[in-house]
Amino acid sequence: MVVVGLMIIMVLGLFTGITDAVSLKVFAYRLTEKIEISVISAFSEVDLEVFSERANISNEQNRDIYLDKDKAKETIKEFLKKNLELDESFRAKKESIIKQNKAVIIDDIRVYNPNELPTVAPNNQKVERTSIYIHLRVPINFKYSEKEYQDIKRLVDLDSFLTSYQ
């Protein structure tokens, strides 16, 4: 009977673990989606001076977009705070999908303009168009995961975003 009891506990633990794993996957999906939308919004920070000189925005094949790097980074931070419901020190508010009281850590934001291409981003992805690379660490606490932070590394470019929409 002890063995049966132990087996029952193991089975229940297994299915609870599966629920936890699915919960983590769904959280990661929602998080990544919010981060991507926040980064894409930074593509509005066009460097107008360079744009007037060089941009060929009407040509789909050679669409050169030069971003104002400082403004783009500020826009990303502003939208991350809004979309992830973070306060000024990047800690989650009550309404946030992040349920930990530690701050979200922005490890890296890199803006790649056309004059710096081609190159390779820190996540080893080739960069061939105007892109933004972001590396965040988001605090998590899932029962069956020892990780304290979920690492999010994404390379986002406007053209891929535009063509991904069906």
Binding site: F15, V22, K25, V26, Y29, I40, S41, S44, S164
Partner: protein, 125 residues
């Protein structure tokens, strides 16, 4: 006889565990479905610089097809390039959940909210 009882208890544990697993994960799969549909229409709003009535009805219908009810959509129908906007979708979903160890079910209504701030990014006129 003892072996039969043990076997029966193990099967019961497996079935109960399976029910917990399915009921425990169904809301998450529904959440993902909800997010994917809303995300697609958010992208449309960003790229087309607004979400017109036809697209709003399509969004509502797609969610209804997945079992969602009382769908409310807040999205601008016209935007300028680079203009910031809020996109919000709220819907409810009825789920059957096990009430107690007797296996009795009850219907619970869960409310799903998809809310994002973004900018219009479409490059075509």
């Amino acid at each position: 006889m003892t072996d039969l009882i043990i076997f029966g208890l193990i099967v019961l544990a497996l079935v109960f565990g399976f029910v917990i697993g399915v009921e425990g994960t169904t809301p998450f799969f529904s959440r993902t479905e909800f997010d994917m549909i809303c995300s697609n229409f958010l992208k449309e709003t960003m790229i087309e610089k607004g979400l017109d009535d036809t697209s709003k009805q399509e969004l509502i219908q797609e969610l209804k097809n997945e079992g969602f009810e009382d769908v409310k959509v807040v999205a601008p129908d016209s935007l300028e390039w680079g203009q910031e906007f809020e996109f919000k979708v709220e819907a409810s979903l009825k789920l059957k959940e096990t009430k107690d160890y007797s296996g009795a079910k009850e219907i619970k209504t869960r409310v799903f909210v998809f809310e994002e701030n973004a900018k219009a990014m479409g490059l075509e006129n």
